[in-house]
Assembly symmetry: C2
Homo-oligomer: 119 residues x 2
DNA sequence: TATTCATATGAATATCTGTTCATATGTTCA
DNA sequence: TGAACATATGAACAGATATTCATATGAATA
């Protein structure tokens, strides 16, 4: 049976070769959920900007707040989300807490995204 | 002046070397906004799952709806968003409309994401 | 042309999310 | 210890968003 030599959208479709193939190659629902959650973290311009300023150097909360012209509280809330997603890590130095990128996955993911929007 | 040999969080901080360096390396706000918008599209498990089923083969709307066990309307709404972001393309064949991935950026972006969650 | 099938779409709704505000926690230093 | 500074956090509110429902559009066929 050729790839699309099937009636589309009747109930038999569920048993076609293509649909069966798709089913067998799908990752676990949990993984797909986690993946969406990860991209959701990148899907906010405040968090993207935070990640970008951390590309250059580790920074403390108030530095980031000043750079992005936002309140300390707003930044702190977003840093928490970024940290929970293991995209950034923190280090306390006296009263300040310095944040930095957790690893270079952040780099790669953002760069791939950039390539897409630059078409 | 050493990297962190500056008083953190007073107003002079804005003029420090590091902060100046960060400022000069930031992309345009428009690009950062677009980037966040792109990741926002990936940040929904329905859309992620749609992209995944399209990895295997082009599919029509009702096929996708059946595979994901969702209504045709819900899928159609999400396909519109994916298409507006140029992540998928469509082709009409009679009554059906077949959707497929626009290019391999989708692949790469999702794979980078997967690497992160699989640590 | 009328009917049926496949898809698209607008409005409504419920849920989610980011920021603000007030305040708590934690650290340094006098 | 107490004051000042840096950060974290909970509650509340406003804005965004995914799904549902009803219906419109578009295409094939009898």
């Amino acid at each position: 049976m050729a790839i699309h030599d099937v009636e589309c959208c009747d109930d038999f479709e569920v048993h076609s070769d293509v649909v069966q193939a798709v089913r067998s190659h799908m990752p676990d629902d949990d993984d797909l959920y986690d993946l969406a959650e990860l991209f959701k973290v990148f899907g906010d311009s405040t968090r993207i900007r935070i990640l970008y300023v951390l590309f250059e150097s580790e920074l403390c909360v108030c530095d980031i707040a000043q750079l992005l012209n936002m309140t300390q509280s707003a930044i702190s809330h977003q840093l928490k989300i970024l940290k929970q997603s293991r995209l950034i890590k923190s280090r306390r130095e006296g009263k300040s807490v310095f944040y930095s990128l957790a690893d270079d996955h952040v780099y790669r993911i953002i760069n791939q995204g950039f390539e897409h929007i630059k078409e």
